[in-house]
């Protein structure tokens, strides 16, 4: 299994979004239509206090993913009302095509006082082929619980054998360290199961082994079935120093499973390396794998968490 890089396919500062938003195109996630591929991502605005909010937009590509053919012009999904879990942003936004409908699982976040943020997972439905989404309610469908106390987020949902599987992350701790100004989070990948996509049973289990020690942060799982095996891609990093130090920043990891429950981590067999220079030379994060015209693609962000867009790779196998 080897990823062949196609390169940066979306540059924020050369897009029409730069007139409406300030920066970023983070966590690209694709759904495939008959004639085009739609890639949702989260971008940013500033509020009156100067702090940022994250909003969902999309860009459409031809089926070869070689050309941009359309951009979202309007609001794709509203941010939450005052006090709601998604008041300050939706990032990431994970679409699901199932039985002819388009749903979205959202990572809503809100600002806290003693720590930067908290997050929970919301649910929305589209009635217009994925152009806009309406939430089913003001609250989340998956949030903190007895053994997963905070930072529930990064949902990715697939239906296998009529069961819904959600892979997501949960916070384990906030590290207070004299070397950093604000507490830094540690989160891990877990999963939940559902019969209807709405009512979820958490398995309360960390499913991916750490390779950087117990403070490894794991984020944004994405799953694809290739032949008879399930493959998960995700990103991981050190808990402290990841913003400024290249060696501590996000990399893309890989694990495989025969049953979606037990995962074997195997970063080396399927890794995608940092480029020598350019847009993904310091960091690679927020992967999304999808299939289009019998090819398997990987969307991901590069340096600075996707400040200036995202790139694409194709699987040779």
């Amino acid at each position: 299994m080897k990823w062949r890089k196609i390169g940066q396919i979306f540059k924020f500062d050369e897009s029409p979004f730069k007139n409406r938003f300030i920066s970023h195109a983070q966590s690209p996630q694709a759904i495939v239509f008959d004639d085009f591929v739609r890639v949702y991502f989260s971008t940013r605005k500033k509020d009156i206090s100067g702090k940022f909010l994250s909003y969902v937009q999309y860009v459409d590509y031809n089926k070869k993913i070689s050309k941009i053919i359309n951009f979202s012009n309007d609001e794709v999904i509203k941010l939450g009302k005052i006090g709601c879990f998604d008041e300050h942003g939706i990032f990431p936004f994970s679409p699901l095509q199932y039985k002819g409908k388009i749903f979205a699982y959202t990572n809503g976040w809100t600002r806290r006082v003693s720590v930067d943020i908290d997050s929970s997972i919301g649910f929305a439905i589209s009635d217009d082929n994925g152009e806009t989404f309406n939430k089913l309610g003001d609250g989340p469908i998956l949030t903190s619980s007895l053994f997963e106390p905070f930072l529930i987020g990064d949902p990715f949902v697939k239906v296998y054998n009529k069961k819904y599987y959600m892979f997501y992350i949960f916070g384990e701790k906030w590290i207070v360290d004299s070397k950093v100004k604000n507490p830094e989070r540690v989160y891990k990948i877990g999963y939940a199961i559902s019969n209807d996509g709405l009512n979820w049973e958490k398995r309360n289990k960390k499913i991916i082994n750490d390779i950087l020690g117990e403070d490894e942060c794991q984020a944004l799982p994405t799953i694809i079935k290739i032949r008879n095996q399930y493959h998960m891609f995700f990103c991981y990093r050190q808990a402290i120093g990841f913003r400024e130090t290249k060696d501590k920043g996000y990399r893309i990891g890989h694990a495989y499973s025969d049953n979606l429950k037990d995962w074997i981590r195997n970063d080396s067999s399927c890794s995608i390396k940092l480029s020598k220079d350019g847009w993904d030379s310091k960091m690679q994060c927020y992967p999304n794998v999808f299939e289009c015209n019998d090819k398997i693609y990987l969307l991901y962000n590069g340096n600075k968490f996707g400040e200036n867009g995202f790139g694409l790779a194709i699987l040779d196998y």
Partner: protein, 318 residues
């Protein structure tokens, strides 16, 4: 029904040498022992430099034969505050307990601070193996949290067990309303059921019909079984005006099945006093039986800043 006020039982300002117990004795709830009754309440140290409070839960023990006789005060809070970033980092208030075999189980409101609104709450769970003197959490997160139709402010929990099923009566935030440029919470009474006390199924409906203008907040749903009926005493107020009127009230409803409730606030039979510690509000009731008498603890002015008092039911509750 008619309640006879007996007077104030506990005044936090009289307690010395406990930095964490300076003001407030809120959300009283009882645990009955052979010789005494243990009354849990929530209290606060002085505010921090930004004027913000944390809240702790503690107890006083009252002589069963003379409820005005305080025989013991908890040496320290019954549960510590939650860890960094947790739902209960800034408060454990209120607390409601139930005896379960040899243990005491507690359900409490955990408080965290937010940016756009002052706080958010969810319900935590802890156990005691020393008769309710100290409690330990089962995990760092909440046992009842937000959901699609209960987006925030899950709290004010009361734990009960009827016919071997656990019932949690609690409130959920419906929205934050802006009054004089400040967000005020609009809360409604809700219910969840459980067979094990840990895994809860939400009923997902308001239990108590709103007052006429639908702008009321409800809290403290205290359910009491007596004479083949379930009686609920609760607290209600108007977010639009309570800062000015300083008023909160006690409401009443009854039910035969715990699901359908008939509201009869006019039957409550207790009101504010003309002067003194409960002249502005009576709020956050808790009803219990001791020595075959039915009593109510309730808070007075400034939501229990100066403690809680006692009333005794005259006649029958039916």
């Amino acid at each position: 029904m008619k309640w006879k006020k007996l007077g104030k039982i506990f005044t936090p300002q009289k307690v010395k040498k406990k930095y964490w117990l300076k003001n407030f004795a809120q959300g009283p709830s009882t645990l009955i022992f052979d010789d005494f009754i243990r009354v849990y309440f929530s209290c606060r140290p002085n505010p921090d430099k930004d004027g913000k409070f944390v809240s702790y839960s503690a107890f006083v023990d009252l002589d069963k034969n003379d409820l005005f006789n305080i025989i013991n005060i908890s040496q320290k809070p019954v549960i510590n505050l939650g860890g960094k970033g947790c739902f209960d980092e800034f408060g454990t208030y209120p607390i409601s307990v139930i005896r379960e075999k040899e243990e005491i189980w507690a359900y409490y409101g955990g408080w965290t601070r937010c940016e756009s609104i002052p706080f958010n709450t969810a319900i935590g769970f802890a156990k005691s193996i020393d008769n309710g003197v100290s409690f330990k959490r089962l995990g760092p997160g909440p046992v009842l949290s937000y959901s699609i139709n209960e987006p925030f402010n899950i709290g004010s929990a009361r734990i009960r067990k009827f016919n071997d099923i656990f019932y949690l009566f609690y409130v959920s935030g419906e929205k934050w309303v802006i009054v004089n440029k400040k967000p005020e919470m609009l809360l409604k009474i809700r219910m969840a059921t459980s067979s094990d006390g840990l895994n809860w199924k939400k009923h997902n409906k308001n239990l108590i019909k709103d007052d006429d203008n639908h702008n009321e907040s409800q809290a403290s749903p205290d359910v009491f079984y007596h004479n083949n009926l379930y009686h609920m005493f609760f607290c209600n107020w108007l977010p639009s005006s309570f800062r000015k009127t300083k008023s909160r009230k006690i409401g009443y409803a009854y039910s035969t099945d715990l699901i359908n409730w008939i509201r009869k606030d006019e039957n409550i039979g207790i009101d504010i006093s003309s002067k003194g510690w409960d002249s502005e509000m009576i709020a956050y009731p808790h009803v219990f039986t001791v020595n075959n008498k039915i009593y109510m603890f309730y808070l007075g002015n400034e939501v229990g800043k100066y403690g809680f008092g006692l009333a005794e039911l005259e006649g029958y509750l039916k």
